[in-house]
């Protein structure tokens, strides 16, 4: 194993060398950094050209210049790497280090959302193979595959930012919208749950009614303008989460699991009150930590009390429930910052941001307002990236699950008399996750590449912006820095994916070829 990793890392160095040589020469041959100077009308044109030539070593042919650049980079082995300076005399490493957090924030949130949504819809689609829902999802996935991201981004800006902000001013949902949305919800749940015709109509009407009541309540209470969860909603949602998580992971027949999960929901609601002071203090990060630790400890304690045998699965479900409830408490905290945030001068009642990664001159600098500001700036870019990458997950998880369901061990599991839930969640789902986890790792590198366009559309200052600048200003050092970073990321992601595969799937052993 160790030898294998070493060999792969060795290959990484070789590949990076080749790839960087390729891109350096490609860029150097096709670029003329002096183009701007040659056409300039400045008096000292000749001197400027000479100076630039000296500075960029343009007197040397590109392959030689590449080795000059490489000499600096190889300093990485003696702890002193030199990736050169940008045309503005800023060290390239510094420029990239500044850009990474922005891009990472964008990519990670988008990946997580796309993964969760894609898995849920892909699995449902596979379980309802050849149903209308399945065909519908296939069409949606192909549609999303075919969308240019910048085109979607403009639409999102118009309809989800500008129009939605207008709507938020009085936050009244008009009756046609309520009915339309409710019909859609009804169709969705009817298609997902499906069954006999009578059952489908039942589900449709229940979903339709529940959704229209829900939306009318939200509209009447102006909840969207004054969002708030509060202890009551947290308790109700907590009970829902407790049942949902128990159902998916150990099944509702396990009384002990239900009891301990419900108890967690209760504890979460009680913890809500002390959490208010804790989170509002001047050290909110410590507060978050304390809250989560308290929830986790109580989750484990409660499951120890309620479960006498077979504790593992129950602890797991309680921990998941407690984390979800903790997240709700944090969301409530963000909602409390909503009014001060949108009423501040810089935001001025237009909370969904279309441009930039944060409001620069935010007057109210309390922690939660900041967090909310970050979140509101993330909404659109994340949505755009998610829309594009989630189609892949839908298709892939559907295909994999269908493959897995045809395996012998699934037949064995069914023959043993296990419930359908156990077969799907324990036997099929886990095996579906193996290839998906490796795909996901590889995808992160791809999304970073895709973020180049997204950053441009939403004017974020990340890797994409650096890259654009590098190309348009003929900045070879910067371009090399960015592409080396992206290539390394791609190769490492590949390596991690391979290792993950062998760790998750005992049938596959890495490095066993020779």
């Amino acid at each position: 194993m160790f030898a294998y990793i070493l060999r792969r890392l060795g290959a990484l160095v070789v590949i990076l060398f080749g790839a960087s040589f390729l891109i350096y020469n490609l860029a150097a041959i096709s670029t003329d950094p002096l183009e701007g100077l040659k056409t300039s009308t400045a008096q000292n044109r000749e001197q400027l050209i000479a100076a630039a030539t000296r500075e960029l070593r343009l007197d040397l042919p590109p392959p030689l210049r590449y080795f000059l650049w490489l000499r600096g980079v190889l300093g990485i082995f003696v702890g002193n790497p030199d990736f050169g300076k940008t045309r503005e005399q800023q060290p390239v490493i510094e420029a990239i280090a500044n850009a990474i957090p922005t891009t990472v924030r964008l990519v990670i949130v988008a990946t997580i959302v796309a993964l969760v949504l894609g898995l849920a819809l892909g699995i449902t689609s596979a379980l309802r193979q050849y149903s209308r829902f399945d065909y519908g999802m296939t069409f949606v996935a192909f549609l999303l595959f075919s969308l240019p991201i910048f085109w979607v981004a403009v639409l999102l800006k118009q309809y989800l930012a500008i129009d939605f902000n207008d709507f938020l001013v009085n936050a009244k949902i008009s009756p046609p919208w309520i009915i339309g949305l409710s019909i859609l919800t009804g169709f969705f749940w009817a298609a997902v749950i499906s069954g006999s015709r009578r059952r489908v109509w039942m589900i449709f009407s229940i979903a339709f009614l529940a959704n229209s009541i829900f939306l009318s309540a939200i509209s009447a209470s102006q909840w969207l303008a004054y969002p708030r969860l509060g202890p009551v909603a947290i308790f109700i949602f907590g009970v829902g989460i407790a049942f949902g998580v128990t159902y998916l992971s150990v099944g509702l027949s396990d009384r002990n699991a239900i009891k301990s999960n419900l108890f967690i929901a209760l504890i979460g609601t009680i913890l809500y009150f002390p959490a208010q002071n804790l989170l509002d203090s001047n050290r909110p990060r410590v507060g978050i930590l304390i809250l989560l630790v308290a929830l986790l400890i109580s989750a484990i304690a409660v499951s120890f009390i309620f479960a006498r045998i077979d504790r593992g699965p129950i602890i797991r479900t309680s921990v998941i429930t407690s984390i979800l409830i903790g997240v709700m408490i944090l969301i409530d905290q963000m909602m409390q910052a909503w009014r001060p945030y949108i009423e501040s001068d810089d935001v001025n009642y237009r909370p969904v941001a279309t441009i930039g990664q944060s409001t620069i001159w935010l007057s109210d600098i309390s922690f939660w307002v900041r967090v909310l500001d970050f979140a509101m700036h993330l909404v659109l870019p994340t949505l755009a990236l998610t829309l594009i990458s989630f189609a892949g997950y839908v298709r892939f998880s559907r295909g994999t699950l269908l493959d897995v369901l045809n395996q012998d061990y699934i037949r064995t599991a069914r023959a043993k008399g296990l419930s359908e839930r156990t077969v799907i969640m324990r036997h099929a789902f886990r095996n579906t996750m193996i290839p998906i986890s490796t795909i996901m790792v590889g995808d992160v590198a791809g999304i970073v590449g895709g973020a180049i366009i997204t950053e441009r559309v939403f004017a974020w200052q990340g890797m994409g912006t650096l890259f654009n600048k590098a190309i348009t200003s003929f900045d070879l050092n910067l371009l090399m820095g960015v592409s080396i970073f992206l290539s390394t990321l791609a190769i490492l992601a590949n390596l991690i994916a391979d290792l993950l595969y062998s760790a998750l799937d005992p049938r596959i052993r890495v490095g066993a070829g020779k």
Binding site: A11, V14, I15, L16, G18, A19, L22, I23, L26, A27, S30, T31, Y130, T138, F139, F142, L143, F145, S146, L147, P148, I149, F150, W151, V154, K157, Q158, I162, A445, G446, V448, G449, G450, I452, I453, R456, F467, N468, I471, T472, L479, V482, S483, L486, S487, A490, I491
Partner: protein, 362 residues
């Protein structure tokens, strides 16, 4: 009871098998694939839409063949060229005081004057150029780019992949390292570097260069396919019979790998059209005076609130083209996949059961 149900299952399975066997009796592999493809409804619709679209787009504008001074002109069906600058529509012609609004009126009843195409159905751009002509020109460019990239990548990927997979050893090692070099640099970076400097040399040249860098994924697939196929008995048999390497590759292995190749080339083409539009959007692709769909969107994205037609039409064309290609790829994948079975209609199942019973009694 349970026993009976099981029996029914077996009979059902057997009868369905009988249908599938009956259907493929006496047909060559190619005919089976073609039949399966024709049965894939979404793919067939996409084929029709795509070919109609291509025909419409390429006959829209005048073709100028021959030298600049005295070209041979084949007239297109649309009255304006993409370089013509007719008078801008404004004022009374347009609502909301916008300039160059579209005259297409596809809503027949509400305003009482029925469907009409008008002078500029897709509107006009800033300087009065007819937007329909521009979109047609852009679509021509984008489709051209797509096919060139697809063709080059298919050729290079197949040749390099089959050589690497067939000969293995150091040839394989060298070729696959080359693939590694190219594949690690994100394609958008290579594309931008190329596009930024060669975009002004025209769309075809840009596509040519992009094609030189997009064959890598395909070559890996083909190599994998060759590695498994070359170990099969029919290859051994032909080698024993004295066939040359070339003959084995082209006559024996390649036809077996053609499914994988066709499917991934279609998907590559839908990726190519999006790549071209993305590059043009970043300003690193096709540049003016040439036109492409991505460039049109990029130019007019800020006009979305005031003149949305400048934004909608090129986008819709991109989506329709990419969507068609994706569906065709999906249909081809199903058609080439021997495990894939279509769902039988209720009528066919009933027929099968009748046939089965008849056979049993006979």
């Amino acid at each position: 009871m349970a026993k009976k149900k099981e029996n029914v299952e077996i009979i059902k399975d057997a009868s369905e098998n009988a249908i599938f066997n009956k259907e493929t009796e006496g047909l060559s592999q190619g005919q089976i694939v073609l039949r399966r493809f024709i049965r894939h409804r979404a793919a067939m619709i996409s084929v029709v839409v795509l070919f109609t679209l291509i025909a419409v787009v390429y006959t829209a504008l005048d073709w100028r063949i021959g030298d600049e001074e005295d070209p041979l002109i084949i007239p297109g069906w649309w009255k304006y060229g993409f370089e013509d600058m007719p008078e801008l529509r404004y004022g009374a012609d347009c609502i909301n005081g916008s300039v160059g609004c579209p005259s297409l009126d596809a809503v027949p009843f509400f305003d009482g004057d029925g469907i009409s195409i008008g002078e500029h159905p897709f509107g006009q751009d800033d300087i009065g150029r007819d937007y329909l002509a521009l979109v047609m020109r852009g679509a021509q460019r984008s489709i051209l780019v797509m096919f060139i990239i697809g063709a080059i990548a298919a050729t290079l990927g197949t040749v390099i992949g089959s050589i690497a997979g067939y000969f293995r050893g150091w040839v394989d090692a060298i070729l696959m390292r080359l693939v590694d070099f190219i594949i690690t640099v994100p394609v958008i970076i290579i594309g931008s570097v190329i596009g930024f400097h060669f975009g002004n040399k025209g769309a075809a040249f840009l596509a040519l260069l992009l094609g030189l860098f997009s064959w890598t994924g395909l070559s890996r697939l083909v190599r994998g396919e060759f590695l498994t196929l070359r170990e099969r008995e029919f290859v051994d048999a032909s080698r024993v019979a004295g066939a040359s390497n070339r003959r084995i590759i082209f006559k024996h292995i390649l036809p077996n790998a053609v499914g994988v190749i066709i499917v991934s080339v279609t998907l590559l083409m839908s990726g190519a059209i999006l790549l071209e539009t993305a590059l043009s959007y970043l300003g690193f692709g096709v540049t003016s005076p040439d036109v492409s769909l991505g460039l049109l969107i990029s130019n007019y994205q800020d006009a979305f609130t005031t003149r949305p037609w400048l934004f909608w039409y090129p986008g819709l064309f991109i989506i329709v083209i990419a969507l068609c290609i994706n569906f065709i790829g999906d249909g081809l994948r199903d058609a080439f996949d021997p495990r894939q079975r279509r769902r039988l209609s209720r009528k066919e199942k009933a027929n099968a059961r009748v046939m089965q019973n008849r056979n049993e009694f006979a």
